[in-house]
């Protein structure tokens, strides 16, 4: 049974980590867009 | 000798970008056949990139390049001679071995052939023309910089090209040999070839070049028949 929960948690940890990297990339990009707009 | 003044090279708003760096920024120009063009400008002005685009080594990001009436540069590459700033030679082989190999790439099977009707006009003649001894057996690694430069020119001339693109042919060559090379170029020009010379030593070409082309920040800023003293420094 523990293995079941471990597997389900692991799945969502992986997905959320990936989504986290996406958000981080998006923030970096919007920073760059702001910089471009200033020019 | 060709007397037609039709354009050999036509560039239409050519851009070349390397990431965020723009090496060529909208070059539009026409160059006519049978002339010697000296391309001048500071480092980073886009001269080398221009030659690489003409040689088909770099694809322009935007714009079109037409050479000898076609935009498919690959189909006229056998009419092109290209001499780059690096020597484009194998250091471990001797001069003639190098030339013989590169000749094969152009379908010229044997430079020292036995066929009497086809005189040995390829490698050996080219080597003597640039002032090197064809019998030299030393590997290129042991050549002086000037000799390498001359051998590199001989390599560019192998296929008897109609269009010659030379990047800094006189750098590291002593002034006497440089003058000889200029003479050779002017002979080639008289034979109807179109020649582009990128150089920092503009004075060497004074009186020989038909036109001087100034480049700055990826654009052609000026073209003139004469090298004005103001620009020479």
């Amino acid at each position: 049974m523990n293995f079941l929960y471990a597997a389900y948690t692991a799945t969502w940890i992986i997905h959320i980590t990936y989504l986290g990297t996406l958000v981080r990339r998006y923030h970096r990009l919007s920073g760059e867009i702001e910089e471009l707009k200033k020019k | 000798m060709h007397l037609d003044a039709s354009p050999v090279v036509t560039l239409t708003s050519v851009f070349k970008q390397f990431g965020r760096f723009a090496a060529l920024r909208g070059v539009t120009a026409e160059f006519t056949s049978g002339r010697l063009y000296a391309i001048l400008g500071d480092n980073g002005a886009g001269k080398t990139t221009l030659l690489r685009v003409l040689a088909g080594l770099a694809q322009p990001t935007r714009g079109t390049v037409s050479i000898l009436g076609t935009t498919k540069l690959r189909s006229v590459c056998h009419e092109l001679g290209y001499m780059a700033h690096p020597s484009l030679l194998y250091d471990e082989m001797s001069g003639m071995e190098n030339l013989r190999y590169f000749a094969r790439l152009y379908g010229i099977s044997d430079l020292t052939n036995n066929d009497p009707t086809q005189k040995d006009e390829g490698g050996a003649a080219n080597m003597t023309a640039v002032g090197l001894d064809p019998a030299l057996a030393r590997p290129v690694a042991q050549y002086s910089q000037g000799m390498r430069q001359r051998l590199s020119l001989a390599r560019a001339l192998l296929n008897d090209p109609k269009l010659l693109l030379l990047d800094e042919p006189f750098s590291n060559v002593d002034s006497g040999s440089a003058r000889e090379m200029v003479l050779l170029l002017s002979r080639l020009r008289s034979a109807g070839k179109t020649i582009f010379v990128v150089t920092h030593q503009a004075l060497l070409l004074e009186g020989t070049a038909d036109e001087f082309v100034w480049m700055e920040a990826g654009q052609i800023t000026n073209r003139a028949r004469e090298l004005r003293p103001v620009e020479t420094r």
Binding site: Y26 | Q17, G19, N43, G44, A217
Partner: protein
């Protein structure tokens, strides 16, 4: 389009929680394996989704390489049509089919391949296929990672081992390695034509997959390994839960791909603007 996104996200979340409930509670407990078997409802849909994404990556890479060249483009189009037709004919001509393969599934697969190819061709311009290729490779690797993590967690209590060099496990691992190297190539490339290089690698990888599968299949038949699953038919209620989970994960993957795709496009636009900026800004000649 932007307003649709939160609605879809909400729907997907609802679907995912439904699927989770079904998987944990509603689905019948397997007799021999017990509750651990429920990992199946996450493991298998993730695998199917990953394979689908890699397949899209392959189609995009082919199109990216082929479309600038009209002759090759036409040739590929006809090849794809031929694959579709051949699959339909083969489904009804070849008798007997290998065990466990229905004629209808052969025909559907062939038609799906052709359909996918032309759908992508119609919906995406040639430069955009490259963006889609990056996206599917990346999200595919994420799903493949899920498969590779949940697999051992399932194997450990059931077989008593974490890993076995079984054909499906090993092929999935190799697939994962190939696409990780694909992403590495994209990151480390200094070429101005990274998309071309990456697309070439993707084609190599896709060509490799059947060979990997086939070689390991033979390898395995020579070396006895633990048998996977119970085999045979699956309880219809389990199948139902499985399909719901797959649907949920497909929607989730589509959403992730969509956001990642928008990010990629945005990034390319920013890069283009920066490049344009570099063009316009007067450069001091040193």
């Amino acid at each position: 389009m932007k307003r649709v996104f939160p609605i879809l996200a909400l729907l997907t979340a609802v679907l995912l929680s439904c699927a989770l409930y079904e998987a944990l509670v509603a689905a019948p407990t397997e007799q021999t394996m017990g509750n651990v078997q429920r990992i199946f409802y996450y493991h298998v849909p993730s695998a199917w989704t990953a394979f689908l994404l890699f397949f899209i990556n392959f189609v995009c890479s082919i199109q990216y390489l082929v479309r600038p060249n009209p002759v090759a483009d036409k040739l590929t189009n006809w090849t794809v049509i031929a694959i579709g037709i051949a699959a339909c004919i083969a489904a009804f001509v070849i008798r007997p089919l290998p065990e466990g393969i229905e004629p209808s599934s052969v025909a559907t697969t062939g038609l799906a391949i052709a359909g996918f190819y032309f759908l992508i061709r119609k919906c995406f311009s040639q430069p955009r296929t490259d963006a889609l290729a990056v996206v599917t490779a990346e999200v595919g690797v994420v799903f493949c990672t899920v498969v590779l993590v949940t697999g051992p967690l399932w194997a450990r209590p059931v077989w008593g081992i974490w890993w076995t060099w079984d054909v499906r496990l090993t092929s999935t691992l190799v697939l994962w390695l190939i696409y990780v190297s694909y992403l590495m190539l994209r990151r480390f490339s200094t070429s101005g034509q990274t998309p071309v290089l990456a697309a070439a690698l993707a084609v190599f990888g896709a060509l490799d997959v059947p060979l990997v599968y086939f070689s390991i299949w033979i390898f395995r038949t020579q070396h006895p390994q633990p048998v996977i699953g119970g085999g045979g038919s699956i309880d219809p209620r389990m199948l139902h839960v499985l399909l719901i989970n797959w649907l949920a994960f497909l929607c989730f993957a589509a959403l992730v791909c969509w956001s990642r795709y928008r990010l990629e496009i945005l990034q390319r636009e920013v890069e283009e603007t920066q490049a344009l900026e570099a063009l316009l800004e007067p450069r001091s000649s040193r």
